[in-house]
Structure formats: structure tokens, C-alpha cells
């Protein structure tokens, strides 16, 4: 293992380190909550810094990846044999897509950790599980071996279930169970697809990049593609497989909602792009139409359903359905612009929805309600949270200058570039979802922040538990997210160029058939 660059070590440590921290937390007595919180926060912070550093190295100083027509070099790659009998390897590395998603994950884990400072019961278990969750996510995004990817992806399942069931609210057990079952169902489909790909390729390797060079039989692709794609789409929140998400989000504690909607779903859409479309391009061409239709339906369905929600978390959950549908819209349009838009949308939606869930959690801690009708006039008592919520709301409805806009612009442009009039018409319909987004987001923002203040939860003054504005910790969490949202909204250009490079192999595969 000698001879790897520092970056490679750091990259692989991003998933090993949280696991180590989880072990460290495990031996700390559960009574010392402050220490536990501190360690968790520092760990998440270190990981964020490490990931940010990696991103910088990747974008500006990293070895320029050589994207030839046939072979893709990953940055910071390492490949060692793992299960020789299956020819599975531990193969990690990053390209732009995974790098940005890792950065997103690091941001959200960090902010989620900060947002969870108010948890008082079973603090130790909470942060251990959160660290495991982080490890699984980082591992997923950096794995370029199908089996290792699957391992890491599933590693997130156990902590997710426990975090919701243990720390959630409302119908937490039902929701946690529903979420776990449906997600596992998706994973099952993925597994079948992976097995199919593996054996179709002669059971020689699980290496994604090698597999991607194989020309699979089109008839095989036609059944394997929907298995892999739908399997991931379940996680990626594609209508009508989204049913796990609203209940799951509503029941989950703040950090987990942030994580689920912000990062976890992205593993799904990432898988759709990286595994399904990359490996099975002809299947993708064959199935793009139906899935595109689902995406359009989801964009409108989620948005319209969000309008009627009374619970803020449900509202945001359905908004996620709508926004994730846009990711799939981009994926199914199968061209450079749309795919890039989809990747951008993954990142931007991750940031936005995490920020929104973060805010909802903070507001809930002060008002003890998430019902929209029971709130009002919070702008006066909590101006910081209020302003943040307005910004996040605007970002959610795709206001230019904030993260949502560049991605939607790319997706819609990509949709119009689509091959058939039906695709273009569908894109046109999907644009309608941004109007509905304005309706429900402004409704939410208005009802919560504006209007006369409600006496029932009038501020009790000061920054603290009961009423007041955000504490320092919460402010940091929100500011990091807002910085991401605004930064990405204003300067998407540098991300775009790197993403375009990373999409080249996928597009090559798509254009091959």
C-alpha cells in the first residue's frame, strides 16, 4: 500500500475515520454527553475539512484525469483485491461526480451533527450511528467496485433504521420499517441486476470501469437496466416509489431527515447514473421513455401533493419528491446537458433540502409543532432562522443566484435537447413544477414566518432552548449550508467543467450503441 499519494490516503480515511470515531465513542461512558457531542462534531468537522481539501486538490491541483475513449482514470485511485474468489476488489477513487457528492455528504454530516446538539437522550448511540451512516455514504461514493459499493450503500441501512426508530417522532416505528423495507427492496433489485451484469460479463470482475467497457447483449440490457435503475430509483425517490420518503422524513430526527433527503437519496440517483446508465447504455436508451414519463409525473405529483400538506416536514418531503424527479428527468434525457444538470441537481437539492430540514428541526424545537397552521410570525422572534428560511425557500423554488437554478436550467435545457417531441413536451410540463414550487414554498414560508405572531409560542427572550433565535452552533450549521447554496448558485461554472469531464465516459457509452 506504499506509494500512494497523500490524497489517496485521505480519501480512504474519510470512511475509515468515522468508523474509528464510532468505536471511540463506543468506549466513552454514555453520561458524558458534552464530550460525545464534542468528539462527534470535531470528527465531522475534520471530515468536512478533509473532503473540502480533497475537492480543492481535485479541482485545481489534482492529477488531470485522462479521459480517453476507452479507459477512465480516477483521481486518487486505489485498487486492491478483496474477495479473490469472486474477483471483487476494494477499488476506490473519485471523479467529479463522486467528489462533489462526497463534499455534499461531508457538509451535511457536519451540519447534521451540529443540528443534533439538542438531543439529550441516548446521545452516544445517536452519534455512533450517525458516524456509521457517514462512513457508509462516503464509502459508497468513492467505490468503483460494484460489490464494495453495494456493501457501503447497505451499511447505511442499519443506522438509518435505528436512528429513525429510536430518535424519531410520530409514527416512527411504522415509518422506519416502511422506509427500511422499501429501500431494501430497491437494493434487492440492484443486487439482482448486479449479479446479472457480473455473470453476463463472465464473472470476471466487479470493477465498474472494466464492466463498463463490455458490450452487453442488448436483450440482456433490456431486463437488467430496469432492475438496476429502478432499484436505485427507489432510493433516489422516483415517483411512485417515493412512498418511503415522506413518512420517513417526517418521523426522522432532524439530522437524519437532512441526511436521508440530502445525501442518501443521492446515492440512489448516483447509482442510476453511474451503474445503470453507464453499464447498460442500450437498456437506458430503451427504457428512457417510460422512466422519463415517471419523472415528469413525479415532478408535478410531488409538487402538487406538497401544496396540500399541513406538516412542514411532509411539505418538504414532497418537495423532495418533485425535485428528485427533476434529477431523473435529467438522467432520462440522456444527453450531456441533462446529465450534468442531474448531477448538479443532486448536489443542490441535497444542500437545499438539508437546510430546510435543518430549519424545520430548529423551529420545531422552539415551537414544538410542525403544523403549518399552528405557526406564524416567527420572523420577529427568530430573525436569523427566518432569513435563512426565506433564502432556503427561494433556493427551493429555483431562484437564480441560489443552488437550485443552475441545475434546473441544465435539466430543462437538456430536456429540450431531448430526442423526441414527447420528451420536449414532458420537459415543458415539468417546468410547471417550478410554479407549484413557488406556491407551496411561499405558503410555507409565509405561514411560518409572517403574519401576526402567535401567542402560544411567543419568544421567551434570549437565545436558548425555549424561544429565541438560533444558537451559535445552529448558526454555524445553517451558515455552512447557506454558503453552499449561495456559492453553488452564484458560481456553478467551476463545478460544471469538472462534471462534464467526468460525464465523458458515460456519454461515450451512451453514444456507442
Amino acid at each position: 500500500m506504499n506509494g500512494f499519494a497523500l490524497e489517496t490516503w485521505v480519501l480512504n480515511l474519510t470512511w475509515i475515520f468515522p468508523l474509528g470515531m464510532a468505536l471511540l465513542l463506543a468506549v466513552i461512558p454514555s453520561g458524558s454527553k458534552r464530550v460525545i457531542r464534542g468528539i462527534a462534531t470535531v470528527a465531522a468537522g475534520i471530515n468536512l475539512l478533509a473532503t473540502a481539501w480533497l475537492t480543492l486538490r481535485f479541482c485545481w491541483a489534482g492529477p488531470a484525469p485522462d479521459f480517453g475513449a476507452t479507459r477512465t482514470e480516477l483521481a486518487f485511485a486505489v485498487k486492491v483485491p478483496w474477495i479473490p474468489s469472486l474477483r471483487a476488489g476494494y477499488y476506490t477513487g473519485v471523479d467529479a461526480i463522486s467528489m462533489f457528492l462526497m463534499l455534499l455528504a461531508a457538509i451535511i454530516v457536519f451540519c447534521g451533527t451540529l443540528a443534533s446538539w439538542r438531543i439529550e437522550t441516548r446521545v452516544k448511540e445517536f452519534f455512533i450511528l450517525l458516524q456509521v451512516l457517514a462512513a457508509g455514504t462516503f464509502g459508497s461514493f468513492m467505490s468503483f467496485d460494484l460489490l464494495a459499493f453495494f456493501f457501503f450503500n447497505e451499511l447505511t441501512l442499519i443506522p438509518t433504521y435505528l436512528l429513525i426508530a429510536m430518535f424519531g417522532s410520530g409514527r416512527k416505528e411504522y415509518s422506519a420499517m416502511k422506509l427500511t423495507m422499501i429501500l431494501l427492496g430497491g437494493s434487492g433489485l440492484v443486487l439482482i441486476g448486479f449479479l446479472g451484469v457480473y455473470f453476463e460479463a463472465g464473472a470476471k470482475t466487479f470493477d465498474l470501469l472494466e464492466l463498463a467497457q463490455m458490450h452487453f447483449d442488448p436483450s440482456f440490457q433490456r431486463w437488467a437496466f430496469p432492475a438496476v435503475f429502478l432499484g436505485f430509483a427507489v432510493l433516489g425517490n422516483l415517483f411512485p416509489f417515493h412512498i418511503w420518503s415522506p413518512d420517513g422524513h417526517a418521523a426522522a430526527p432532524t439530522a437524519v431527515s437532512m441526511f436521508l433527503a440530502g445525501v442518501h437519496m443521492k446515492i440512489g440517483s448516483y447509482g442510476c447514473l453511474r451503474m445503470a446508465i453507464y453499464l447498460l447504455p442500450e437498456g437506458a436508451h430503451f427504457w428512457a421513455g417510460p422512466f422519463f414519463a415517471l419523472a415528469v409525473a413525479g415532478a408535478l405529483w410531488g409538487a402538487l401533493a406538497a401544496v396540500r400538506q399541513t406538516d412542514l416536514k411532509y411539505m418538504n418531503a414532497y418537495s423532495s419528491v418533485s425535485h428528485c424527479a427533476l434529477v431523473f428527468l435529467g438522467l432520462c434525457a440522456l444527453n450531456a446537458t441533462a446529465l450534468r444538470g442531474a448531477v448538479l441537481q443532486m448536489v443542490s437539492h441535497g444542500l437545499i433540502t438539508a437546510a430546510f430540514f435543518c430549519l424545520i428541526g430548529m423551529i420545531y424545537e422552539r415551537t414544538h409543532t410542525r403544523i403549518i397552521a399552528e405557526m406564524g410570525g416567527l420572523m420577529r422572534s427568530m430573525p436569523f432562522l427566518g432569513v435563512a428560511m426565506v433564502i432556503v425557500g427561494f433556493a427551493g423554488l429555483g431562484l437564480p443566484g441560489l443552488a437550485g437554478f443552475p441545475s434546473e436550467l441544465n435539466i430543462f435545457l437538456g430536456g429540450f435537447l431531448g430526442s423526441s417531441p414527447a420528451i420536449r413536451a414532458g420537459t415543458f410540463l415539468a417546468i410547471g413544477s417550478i410554479v407549484v414550487a413557488a406556491v407551496y414554498l411561499l405558503r410555507g414560508v409565509n405561514a411560518v414566518l409572517h403574519g401576526p405572531p402567535r401567542l402560544s409560542h411567543a419568544p421567551t427572550g434570549g437565545q436558548g432552548r425555549a424561544g429565541g433565535d438560533a444558537t451559535l452552533v445552529e448558526k454555524i450549521a445553517l451558515l455552512v449550508l447557506l454558503l453552499g447554496i449561495i456559492g453553488m448558485g452564484l458560481l456553478p461554472g467551476w463545478m460544471v467543467s469538472r462534471i462534464d469531464e467526468s460525464l465523458i465516459p458515460i456519454l461515450n457509452n451512451l453514444n456507442r450503441g
Binding site: 474477495i83 456493501f151 447497505e154 451499511l155 441501512l157 433504521y161 423495507m181 433489485l189 449479479l195
Partner: protein
């Protein structure tokens, strides 16, 4: 004539006899000596196994120690060992469920250990058999003591009921086996596996029927549909260590028998038997998974789980024999570790016979280690990465997938998904449910918690470095 390779078998026999002798002599002590003797003997067997690992016996036409056999024997011996640990102290305070009602003097564990040892000896015979008679005797020796073990707490109604049911169903299975063996004999003209293999190369209906009857008879041991129905009742009624042994050791023995026949002399028949294997596998998965959903009794729950797992195991028989055998063995280790882990976690909830899932309630606060073990065990059984259960199932699925049995794999995967629904229930009790008042649980101590950690490590590490069996 080299007796060295059968050293473990002989040691096992010697230990069994020694335990009996000790039991007879050490009347006034409470029999701890028997348990210790048995454990020491088992460790010796383990050592001998490892020591003789590479040696292959020859000479007997009836009995042969093969490299493949090493892994089977290892599984049996480990199951035995953990069952012995699990049973330590189990009989000290009298039979468990009735213990509260009647003050019963402690029961001698000598017979218990001896029976276990003989049972494992039977399993050894089973995997070493080279002809049908020895095979049959091994199967019987691996089964007969189980009646007594299941009914060991003969004062407990459940225990005896379990023993009776086991006895009758096993009797029926024996009858089926015998009839099947007779047909095989008829078809082959002799009892040796080689002769049988020769006969199997030109299948006849006689042979097929014989094989099917044996499939049924052996299926009984692995609680395979349609002979699975005894399992829930017996698992629930039997003493907990016996239940653990039934679900690990006995099932492994059944699979060994199945493998000995269908990867052995009847290999040529396997292709034609695919529908039987597939349907039995699917039916077992469905019956086990759906049946487990409503169970509240922990051991009954495990019975259904083991039925479902039997279905997955059967996938190994739908493909290539070398891969199938290796997948089977690997998954047995994995399954065994996870199942034993469950029973150890169950024991950590108290010394008494524990009936309900509620026993796990709030375990995560009182005994985080045991709760973690339970968690790992359940997720491993459900086949969730990165735990060992995933790779186990993955290999089984691969065997079927390699032969392009897509529908079968699809159903198996779907079932595997479904299974998480009930595997989560103990976890939910341990981690999620609200605490209720309970007397504090006894401390396990280092020695008590050591097997827990070993099993936990096995469940995790087997999933990450599945370096055997090759």
C-alpha cells in the same frame, strides 16, 4: 489402514464415554465436571481437527475423511462447542419454564453432554460415510439423541411434547429415508456411493423416487418444506441450548447429508431435480418468512427463521457442485454464527428460559454489547451487508444466478428483503421499545461475554474477509 485422520471422531467418542463415566462417578457434585470434561474434549477434538486437517484417510470403503469433510466437521464441532457454553449453568437451577413452579433439584448435565457428543459423532459419521448403510447410521445417530435432548426437561410439558413431536416426525422421516435407501439399493445393486453414482448416470424412476424420498427424509432435518412443520413446535418446546443446537448443528448435519448425496453419488440427478429444489426452496422461504412475522416467542421465531434459511441453503443445489458446496459451507458458518449469536443474546437477558421477544426489551441500555450482538445477528440473518449474512446469501444466489435461474433468484432476493421485516422485531425491542420495569440483569463477566464477542466478530469479519472454504 491409517487411523490418524479419524482421531477427532475417536476423541469425540472417548469424550462421550468419559462424560458418562464421570457422570456416574461424580454423583454428589452438581455435575459441573461433566460440562468441563465435555468442553475440554471438544476443544481437543477441535485441535485434532485442525491437526488432521490435511490428512486424508483411505482404506475403508465405508468411511473416509476428506478435505471437504474437514469444514463440515469444523461446523459441527463449533456448534457443539457453543452449545456447550450456552448450556453451562442452564440446568443448574432446574428446568427453566417450570422452575418457578416446582423447586426441582438440578438435573445431571452428564447425559446431556454425552448425548450431544454422540449426536455430533453421528454427524461426523454422516460426512465420512462412503456407503449408504453408514450414511443411514450416521443420520440416525445424529437424530436419535435429539429426541432425548429435546425432552431433556421431562418435567416440562412443552419439552416432552416437543420430544414426542420430534420423535414421530423423525420416525416418519426415518421411514421415508429407509424406503428411499431401499430403492436406491435396488437401483444400484449395492450400497456403496460409487455404485450409486454409476447407477445415477443412467437415471431410472426407481432411483428418482428413492432420491425424492431421501430428499424428504433429509429435508426433515433441515426443516425444509414440506417437512418443516415440526420445527416451530419443537424449537419452542425444547430447552434453549437444544434449540440452538437443532438450528445450527442439526441443520448443518441435514445439509451435510443432502450435500453428501446430491453433490456426491446423486450429482447426476441434480439437474433433473431442479424443480424440486427450486420449489422446496421457495416454499421454505415463503413459509418461514411469512410464518415468522407473527411470532412472539423467541425460539419459535428462530424456528421460522431457520425454515426460511433452509430455503436459501437449498439454492446451493441448483448450480455447479463445487461452487454450491463452497457456498453452502460458507453460508453455514455465517448462519451458524448469527443464529448462535441470537441465542447468546437471548441468554444474556437472564438465566431462565426466556419465552417472549419482550425479553429483549431495552437490552441496548442494560447490556449494549448483547444488544449489538443481537443487532448484528439479525441483520446478518437478513443478509444485509456488510455483515456476513450478505456474502453468504450472495454466494448462494450466485450459484443459482450462474445457471441463469433468474426467477428463482428474484424470489429469493424478494424473500430476503421481506425477512428483514421480522428480523427487525427483536432489534426493535432491544433498541426502540420503551423500557419497562425489570429486575436488573445479571452481569455476564469476561468469560460470559467472550463468546458473544467472538460471535460478533465472526458475523462481521466473515462478511468482510470470506477467505474460506476453498
Amino acid at each position: 489402514m491409517n487411523t490418524f485422520p479419524v482421531l477427532p471422531d475417536l476423541l469425540l467418542l472417548a469424550t462421550g464415554v468419559a462424560v458418562l463415566v464421570a457422570d456416574a462417578r461424580a454423583r454428589d457434585e452438581d455435575g459441573k465436571i461433566c460440562g468441563r470434561l465435555a468442553a475440554i474434549g471438544t476443544v481437543c477434538v477441535l485441535a485434532a481437527l485442525l491437526f488432521t486437517r490435511s490428512s486424508v484417510s483411505g482404506g475403508w470403503s465405508t468411511y473416509a475423511v476428506t478435505p471437504q469433510g474437514f469444514w463440515w466437521r469444523l461446523i459441527f464441532t463449533l456448534a457443539l462447542f457453543f452449545t456447550q457454553i450456552l448450556s453451562a449453568g442452564y440446568f443448574d437451577n432446574g428446568p427453566d419454564s417450570v422452575g418457578a413452579r416446582h423447586a426441582v433439584p438440578p438435573q445431571s448435565p452428564g447425559a446431556f453432554h454425552a448425548l450431544l457428543l454422540f449426536c455430533v459423532l453421528g454427524m461426523f459419521v454422516l460426512v465420512s460415510a462412503r456407503e449408504l448403510l453408514t450414511f443411514f447410521l450416521g443420520l440416525e445417530l445424529a437424530t436419535l439423541p435429539l429426541f432425548a435432548l429435546a425432552g431433556f426437561q421431562s418435567r416440562s410439558g412443552e419439552s416432552v411434547e416437543a420430544a414426542s413431536k420430534l420423535m414421530v416426525m423423525a420416525g416418519m422421516a426415518t421411514a421415508l429415508n429407509l424406503f428411499g435407501l431401499s430403492l436406491l439399493y435396488g437401483a444400484a445393486g449395492n450400497l456403496s456411493f460409487d455404485g450409486l453414482a454409476l447407477a445415477a448416470s443412467r437415471p431410472s424412476r426407481l432411483l428418482e423416487l428413492g432420491a425424492l424420498l431421501l430428499f424428504g427424509g433429509i429435508g426433515f432435518k433441515i426443516s425444509l418444506v414440506p417437512l418443516q412443520m415440526w420445527a416451530p413446535d419443537v424449537y419452542e418446546g425444547a430447552p434453549t441450548p437444544v434449540t440452538a443446537f437443532l438450528s445450527v448443528g442439526s441443520k448443518a448435519a441435514g445439509l451435510a447429508a443432502m450435500a453428501a448425496l446430491f453433490f456426491g453419488p446423486l450429482d447426476a440427478l441434480r439437474l433433473g431435480f431442479y424443480p424440486v429444489f427450486a420449489v422446496a426452496a421457495v416454499a421454505s422461504m415463503v413459509a418461514g418468512n411469512l410464518g415468522a412475522m407473527r411470532q412472539h416467542n423467541a425460539r419459535r421465531f428462530m424456528a421460522y427463521s431457520s425454515i426460511a434459511q433452509a430455503g436459501y441453503f437449498l439454492l446451493a443445489f441448483t448450480g455447479d457442485s463445487a461452487r454450491g458446496q463452497s457456498a453452502l459451507l460458507f453460508n453455514l458458518f455465517v448462519y451458524g454464527a448469527a443464529t448462535l449469536a441470537f441465542f447468546f443474546a437471548l441468554r444474556a437477558t437472564g438465566p431462565k428460559r426466556v419465552e417472549e421477544m419482550g425479553a429483549f426489551r431495552d437490552l441496548s441500555r442494560e447490556k449494549p454489547g448483547a444488544a449489538l450482538l443481537l443487532l448484528l445477528s439479525m441483520f446478518s440473518l437478513a443478509g444485509i451487508p456488510p455483515l456476513a449474512g450478505f456474502l453468504g446469501k450472495f454466494q448462494l444466489f450466485s450459484v443459482a444466478m450462474r445457471e441463469k435461474h433468474y426467477a428463482l433468484v428474484f424470489i429469493a432476493v424478494a424473500n430476503s428483503v421481506l425477512s428483514l421485516y421480522y428480523y427487525l422485531r427483536p432489534v426493535k425491542e432491544a433498541y426502540v421499545a420503551n423500557p419497562e420495569f425489570r429486575p436488573p440483569l445479571p452481569r455476564l463477566g469476561f468469560a460470559g461475554s467472550l463468546p458473544l464477542w467472538i460471535l460478533a466478530l465472526a458475523v462481521v469479519l466473515l462478511g468482510l474477509w470470506p477467505g474460506f472454504p476453498r
